[in-house]
């Protein structure tokens, strides 16, 4: 398979061929099994890679992790409850006290639900090369070192050249929450949640967290309730709603 054929395959998949060229390739594929074999692999590889690196697949895996935590843990807890039946009466009392003490601690912790419990803790990854001096590199470095004011300056440079970069806009939103510029944060998250990027629901979720940080529980709840089931943070949102 030569370079020309590969580029032809790609144009075909992108829908960039003229009707004649398209027909021509299709009839070649019909009559040449080896070419068809190569084309099938080429097409399937495209499908495979685009799926493997998709946000959707990452969200799906997140869902599975959360559900496995709940469900497979439940099985464990059930087993422990069965053992309790064998306890002597006095031990019941001790057990009850322990439950009460831990329960109280747990309950009081639950009441103090804060922004920090849910805020973004990972590091962002905007550049592939180290030693890069671009605005992307500067923004990434500043953000990951929690120098949010500095990060915002670099984010703005990027956004001036590329106003549609939703990933950078989303990170700018988070940085704005961190420096307590809530008005800016909400403006950014609103724009993102009205758009169609992969940050649509993440932005909505973070907007809720921004209100949580400001102590505006009502507004936070309202936004969380509007978060649809397909959002990656849906389960966390439900958990947070219960605690509020």
């Amino acid at each position: 398979m030569d370079e020309k054929t590969i580029l032809l395959f790609d144009d075909y998949l992108q829908g960039a061929l003229s009707p004649e060229a398209k027909e021509n390739l299709e009839s070649r594929l019909e009559s040449d099994p080896a070419l068809k074999d190569a084309f099938t692999i080429f097409r399937d590889l495209n499908g495979h890679l685009s799926h493997r690196f998709s946000d959707e697949r990452a969200h799906f895996k997140d869902t599975l992790e959360t559900l496995a935590d709940t469900h497979l843990e439940t099985t464990k807890t059930k087993k422990k409850e069965v053992k309790v039946i064998a306890f002597k009466p006095l031990r019941y009392l001790v057990a009850a006290c322990v439950v009460l003490v831990f329960g109280t601690i747990f309950w009081s912790q639950m009441q103090d639900v804060s922004y920090d419990d849910y805020s973004f803790k990972g590091s962002i990854d905007l550049v592939e090369r180290s030693g890069d001096e671009s605005a992307f590199a500067k923004a990434e470095k500043a953000f990951n070192n929690k120098l949010y004011h500095e990060a915002i300056v670099s984010f703005d440079t990027i956004l001036t050249n590329d106003p549609d970069n939703t990933q950078v806009l989303y990170y700018k939103g988070i940085a704005s929450v961190e420096i307590e510029d809530y008005a800016e944060a909400t403006e950014i998250f609103t724009v993102l949640s009205q758009g169609n990027s992969v940050f649509k629901y993440k932005a909505q979720w973070y907007n809720a967290l921004s209100f949580l940080k400001q102590g505006d529980t009502d507004q936070c709840k309202q936004i969380l309730q509007a978060l649809p089931q397909e959002a990656a943070n849906y389960i966390e949102a439900q958990e947070l709603l219960k605690k509020l």
Binding site: M1, E3, T5, I6, L7, F9, D10, D37, A38, I41, F42, D44, L45, N46, G47, H48, L49, S50, H51, R52, F53, S54, D55, E56, R57, H59, F60, K61, T63, L64, E65, L67, A68, T70, H71, L72, T75, K76, V127, E128, S134, F136, D162, N165, Q229, E230, Y234, I235
Partner: protein, 194 residues
């Protein structure tokens, strides 16, 4: 594929595709305990079972997403068979001299078998694709990862500081190279003849 009827449990496949948390939770509550029990009976523990369950669900999801998956048998039996085979492979890896599996002798429905075979075939292809990607040079690997995670080739080009036309052409050529590697692999020849 024959023109069999679609099983009502197709709803679980759809749930995986749409990330329907409520129905996926049902898979865990209804079907996972059987897998956990089976693995515990066969020298595994709950955490091993968890890994197998996650892997099986991702495998099913991957197939449904990239190739389509129409269930003609109950989800329970299909899912259980996939998990069983995965666990058998784990045991075999750790103990190549032979594995004894304890199970009640029940006949497995041919339909279930066929559906699970198809999934295994799809998984084999996907894992071959991943293997050849790993063998690629760093430049191609990086370009492909970026192209497929960012989607906009303009953005990819900007990030790599190359022209748009170059990034697009290079991406196609990298996939062309992968295609040749797949064609040349012994595994592909085996999978093709299955």
């Amino acid at each position: 594929m024959g023109d069999y009827e679609v099983h009502a449990d197709q709803k679980y496949v759809k749930a995986l595709l749409t990330n329907d948390t409520k129905l996926i939770a049902e898979i865990y509550s209804r079907f996972a305990p059987k897998v956990v029990g089976y693995i515990q009976k066969n020298s595994g523990d709950e955490s091993a079972a968890r890994d197998i369950i996650q892997e099986a669900l991702i495998t099913i999801y991957d197939q449904a997403k990239t190739k389509g998956l129409t269930l003609s048998c109950p989800f329970d039996a299909y899912f259980f068979l996939i998990c069983k085979r995965k666990w058998f492979n784990v045991l075999k890896k750790n103990k190549p001299e032979g594995v004894t599996i304890q199970e009640e002798i029940t006949s497995i429905d041919a339909n279930v078998q066929q559906q699970a075979d198809q999934t295994a075939l799809h998984e084999g292809r996907a894992s071959l694709f991943n293997q050849v990607l790993e063998q690629m040079g760093d430049a191609c690997k990086k370009l492909l990862k970026l192209s497929f995670s960012i989607k906009s080739m303009e953005e990819v080009a900007k990030k790599l500081e190359v022209s748009y036309a170059y990034a697009r052409k290079k991406k196609s050529l990298c996939i062309g190279k992968l295609t040749k590697m797949v064609q040349g692999s012994a595994q592909y020849q085996t999978l093709k003849n299955l």
